[in-house]
Amino acid sequence: MTVNDWLQERFDIEAVKRFAAKKQVPIFYGTVWYYLGGVSLFLFIIQVLTGILLALYYQPGSATAFESVKFIVSKVEFGWLMREIHSWAANLFVFAIFLHMFTVFFSKAYRKPRELTWFTGMVLLGLAMFFGFSGYLLPWNELAYFATKVGTDIAGAVPFIGDFLIKVLRAGDEVSGATLTRFYSIHTAILPMIFIIFLAVHLIMIQVQGMSIPLSMEGTPANKRKTMPFFPNFVIRDLIVWLIILNVIALLAVFFPWELGLKADSLASAPAGIRPEWYFMFMFQTLKILPAHMWILEGEVFGVLMFAVGGIIWLLVPFLEKPKHSKLWFWFGVTILIYMIVLTVWGYLV
């Protein structure tokens, strides 16, 4: 009696296996981009694991947070490694999701029947960025403190509810130890729960619907398409990519460690070169270059509204796009991509 047989007697394993074997991955020049979803998942798993380990030693609170991170990085065995992996993987995680989103966009994988997959994916992107924003404050160092101050200020620019948002985010009017506590619970309890729910839905939908095929392949009949089975062929390849990424993170952790810097001091001047994390930079820079007033609106409010409108359009692409306008949407996507890259680079040059 094998494990398989034992389980088969209790659950219909064979049905699951047959279902899994159906999933195929199209083989074409763009197959390599199909790894990005798995890479994002892998990085999320790494974040959860290293995050849990760090949480065994981290002490939230304005008097203890910085010191506990210092303790982890200098005294705990392999503490430096866990922290560096967590910091680097966080950045790679957001990057991978962005890249994944853009490849999905340009291959129009969001089209029917996968509109909801796109939707949940966008939610996951937003949650990932919120993960990054909340996690960044936790070491309670100078950079984090001021970056959070600036970031939550922008939240205040949202019309009508801006004030409410600031108070809820900051747990008060100013960034303080209370903000730290709130961000910690957001980062380690609230966001993981919401993220996992949306992730599960996202993955189940992909599993049920199968991988999206490129438009060029749609004309070919199903049995003539060049594909490979997801299990085990693509999965093993996925794992190889994951291994390589793991190695890259290890290299980054050893050769490009993140500085801890100075402890946050509400009375100190903001340090030179203060800026938000790179994935917020394009928004930050946009708000910087906008004039103080655009018609009747304050520049910041206009900027925030612009992002909101842009975000909603992007979100509703599967419903808005008509086949005859597909070229338009392609160039729309290119514009957004270039805009993000240019503004990000600009933000760093200044």
């Binding site: 210092k70 093993i236 390589i244 793991l246 290890a250 050893v254």
Partner: protein, 424 residues
């Protein structure tokens, strides 16, 4: 008529500020007019209105006698007046100042805490004693405090303000011609300016650093007795004083009539002492008495070696810690150890004044321990740095190998299933 009244009022208006502060006495009214015509260096009343006595309402007559109410009348105000004293001689001057300043009841009207022993002190000073003997070339009250523009000691413009005292003393004491026949050395000020104390007071504006009066006394100024130098330096350098007093050198110095502290550290040009004071070489201070060496040379050698080994240990620890820091390792805690070691070094240098090798070694030991700890920590950090790179190499090797094998495996599985697919 209207215009006449206006003009008069106008002149009275501008007259008020001009003459409001000016003393309303006959002496000043005449003498200021004469004074204005003088050359600058011959003027008597350049700062008179700021004089603290004038501010408190005293008049010329309070020191010089005469009638301050007899306006425009030379005879009535001065010559025919019995109380008129005119220009005061040195001795008279001191007694005149003392008339008020030694009277505690009188002085209490102006300050309850001001001292009233200046005159008594003065007569015990080098200046006072010489004056009593008939030597008029001595400093009197006005020579240091000024005469018609006397300011409070706390006023930075005063001639006897903390950081101005050395310059004031040096006016006479640095002049060879003036001091001829009285004091041989006139290099005190020049030496003092080069010293640690001079630098602290004059350059760094540290008001706690001693000026001439802090060691010599101000009104009772005289060179300290050989036996009291330890106490005087000990006012600030208390530990050194206590240690030295309990050492075997203290008695020996007293017996030989050797000045303490000064014998090794000098008096006016006191510089930062170097560890080489102990080293039996050119900078040695011990060799001046202990020409033959003997036990003194042995002890000095031991003391030097204790300090030197602590210094060397501390330096090598610092180098290691800095190296670890440059490599990016988190070693900020080790700086506390280095600080402890540095403090121990300072204490050890003080402790040699006990001239007791065991005590000095005891003082140095925590410093050695602290720098050893810093070294251990730094070495551990450097080792950890290497360990991480080695670990990365090993991990990378395993990961690469695994990825390669998995790739071969997947190719193998695919080739096999393809064959099966073709055949099946």
């Amino acid at each position: 008529m209207k215009y006449l009244i206006l003009v008069t009022l106008f002149f009275q208006l501008i007259a008020v500020p001009m003459f409001a502060q000016e003393p309303d006495d006959a002496c000043y009214q005449c003498h200021i007019e004469m004074d204005i015509d003088q050359d600058d260096e011959d003027r008597l009343f350049t700062n008179y209105l700021n004089d603290i006595h004038v501010e408190k309402g005293f008049s010329c007559a309070d020191c010089h006698g005469g009638d301050p109410e007899a306006f425009d009348d030379e005879d009535e105000s001065m010559w025919d007046n019995d109380s008129y004293l005119g220009e005061l001689s040195a001795k008279d001057e001191i007694q005149m100042c003392g008339k008020c300043h030694s009277d505690p009841v009188f002085m209490r009207n102006y300050s309850v805490s001001v001292s009233v022993d200046q005159e008594t002190q003065y007569w015990t000073s080098g200046h006072g004693i010489a004056l009593k003997k008939g030597n008029k070339k001595v400093a009197t009250c006005t020579d240091c405090h000024g005469v018609h523009g006397i300011l409070s000691v706390e006023n930075p413009n005063s001639k006897v303000y903390d950081s101005t005292v050395p310059k004031t003393c040096s006016k006479c004491h640095s002049s060879e011609s003036y001091m001829a026949g009285v004091l041989e050395s006139t290099d005190q000020y020049d030496e003092y300016v080069k010293s640690v104390h001079g630098n602290a007071l004059l350059e760094k504006k540290d008001m706690f650093a001693p000026a001439c009066n802090d060691c010599h006394g101000n009104h009772g100024a005289s060179p300290p007795d050989v036996s009291s130098i330890n106490e005087i330096c000990g006012t600030c350098h208390a530990q050194n004083r206590d240690l030295f007093q309990n050492s075997h050198l203290s008695e020996a110095f007293l017996k030989e009539g050797l000045p303490q502290c000064e014998s090794c550290h000098g008096n006016h040009n006191i510089v930062k002492p170097s560890d080489d004071f102990l080293n039996w070489g050119s900078a040695s201070v011990c060799v001046e008495c202990h020409e033959e060496g003997g036990k003194a040379k042995e002890m000095a050698g031991t003391l030097y070696q204790i300090i030197d080994s602590l210094k060397i240990n501390l330096d090598s620890a610092k180098t290691l810690v800095e190296r670890a820091e440059i490599k990016g390792m988190e070693i900020s805690d080790l700086y506390f150890n280095l600080e402890d070691a540095h403090n121990a070094l300072i204490h050890t240098r003080t402790s040699i004044h006990s001239f007791n090798t065991d005590f000095v070694r005891e003082t140095a030991t925590p410093g050695m321990v602290a720098s050893e700890e810093a070294k251990t920590g730094a070495k551990a950090a450097l080792d950890e740095f290497d360990y991480r790179r080695k670990g990365l190499f090993v991990a990378s090797f395993i990961i690469t190998l695994l990825a390669l094998l998995m790739y071969i495996k997947v190719k193998q599985v695919e080739a096999h299933s393809k064959k099966d697919g073709d055949n099946g």
